[in-house]
């Protein structure tokens, strides 16, 4: 019996230390999520103004013929950018993104479009390496605090592939798969087509009313040429920030349920330990009583 009690106590100790680790992870994630949300909000004005400006230029000149806005009639190759996390311990975060990416690739291949994969985040890179899937490019090291320079780096690589002719390995479409931060409790894996552009409103509603007649310096075409790459970058930056906030929120939730589970386990195990201890005491008493009785019987004779 003594051996069982010791085994149970050892398990309690190990679960306790696990709980400590997961609790610490949860607290770290809780403190980081606020910062990640702030970054997400801080980046919104830039994205909003840029979107408005691009809308203004595009609506002003209907006959704009810019390669970044023209859908290609029969696309043959598409780039898929997948944003995953660098570290694990975040529940189904990466699995959801990768599943979404898989179904996107299946869809594209069903339409006879070849896919080229770009991956950001160590977990996604590992997933592709393990399965021997080829990646056109990979980035890592910034999944939880992406800077604008990271977005610039990724965007320039994608834009380069987009501007190359398809016959020389270029792509006709760029899709990005990432996790959208809806709220602390909800994050959703989504797919967006980054190029050719669909002008999308990001966070806030546009102020009502028609778009004013802008003057352009130097000219509408030059303005558009300058704005579009920045717009792509900004969309990508938003996706990175969304993904970072989602990752941390997912980690917080995963760690919270791990801590809860561990505490439940500790409770169960301590009941077991108490039972074992009680059984040991009962046994000892009955042994003593039995021994005393035997002694008394022996002396009586």
């Amino acid at each position: 019996m003594g051996a069982q009690l010791r085994a149970v106590r050892r398990r309690i100790r190990s679960v306790q230390s696990t709980a400590k680790i997961t609790r610490a992870q949860e607290l770290i994630a809780s403190s980081r999520i606020i910062k990640a949300q702030q970054r997400l909000h801080a980046a919104a004005p830039y994205a909003r103004e840029l979107t408005r400006a691009v809308e203004a230029v595009v609506s002003r000149s209907e006959n704009i013929d810019h390669p970044l806005t023209q859908p290609i009639v029969s696309p043959t190759r598409a780039a898929v950018l997948i944003l995953t996390s660098d570290r694990g311990f975040c529940g189904g975060f990466n699995a959801n993104v990768l599943r979404e990416a898989q179904s996107l690739r299946a869809l594209l291949e069903g339409r006879r479009i070849e896919t080229v994969t770009y991956v950001a985040g160590r977990k996604g890179i590992g997933w592709h390496r393990f399965r021997g899937r080829e990646m056109a490019a990979e980035w890592s090291g910034f999944s939880d605090i992406p800077g604008h320079e990271n977005a610039t780096e990724v965007a320039s690589s994608l834009l380069e592939a987009f501007s190359r002719p398809t016959l020389e390995g270029g792509v006709d479409e760029i899709h990005v798969v990432y996790t959208q931060f809806v709220s602390m409790l909800t994050q959703q894996a989504v797919v967006h087509r980054l190029l050719p552009l669909e002008i999308v409103q990001t966070y806030e509603e546009p102020p009502a009313g028609p778009i004013p007649m802008y003057e352009f310096e130097p000219s509408p075409v030059d303005v558009l040429n300058a704005l579009l790459p920045w717009y792509v970058e900004s969309r990508l930056f938003q996706a990175l920030l969304d993904s970072a906030a989602s990752e941390i929120a997912a980690r917080r939730r995963a760690m919270k349920s791990a801590t809860d589970n561990a505490n439940e386990l500790i409770e169960q195990l301590s009941r077991e330990a108490n039972k074992a201890r009680q059984a040991e005491i009962t046994q000892e008493i009955s042994e003593i009583v039995g021994g005393a009785n035997a002694l008394a019987d022996a002396t009586r004779e």
């Binding site: 801080a42 004005p45 400006a53 203004a56 004013p212 130097p218 303005v223 970058e233």
Partner: protein, 127 residues
Amino acid sequence: MQVELVQPEGELWSGNAEMVIARTLDGEIGLLTNHAPVIGILAEGSMVQIRPDGGGADIFAAVSGGFLSMCDNRVSILARQAELGTDVDTPNVESFLAEALRDAGAGPEEPPDVRYYRALLRAAEQS
């Protein structure tokens, strides 16, 4: 009119202003209240001057590139990278500039980062 100076990672300055002077690819542009709607691409490594309402000191900021848009008395200056003149760490920037100049060698035109560093120093000097 309302002015905001924004970079991708957040807002740098916002408030009401009398006048904004910036340099677009076409040349200097000065914006006063009720200026017609305009969108202009900022020259790389240029300076933006904002004269706030109420007669405070002018604000100078260096921008590495970006654009400005004005509409309904709201001016948005979107910079890919920007810094207020008062925040510039002059000795640090000077060393960066020296380094960038050394890397650049003798070209006909200065690279964008050199121009941005120069703009930073000018902004620091003026404010």
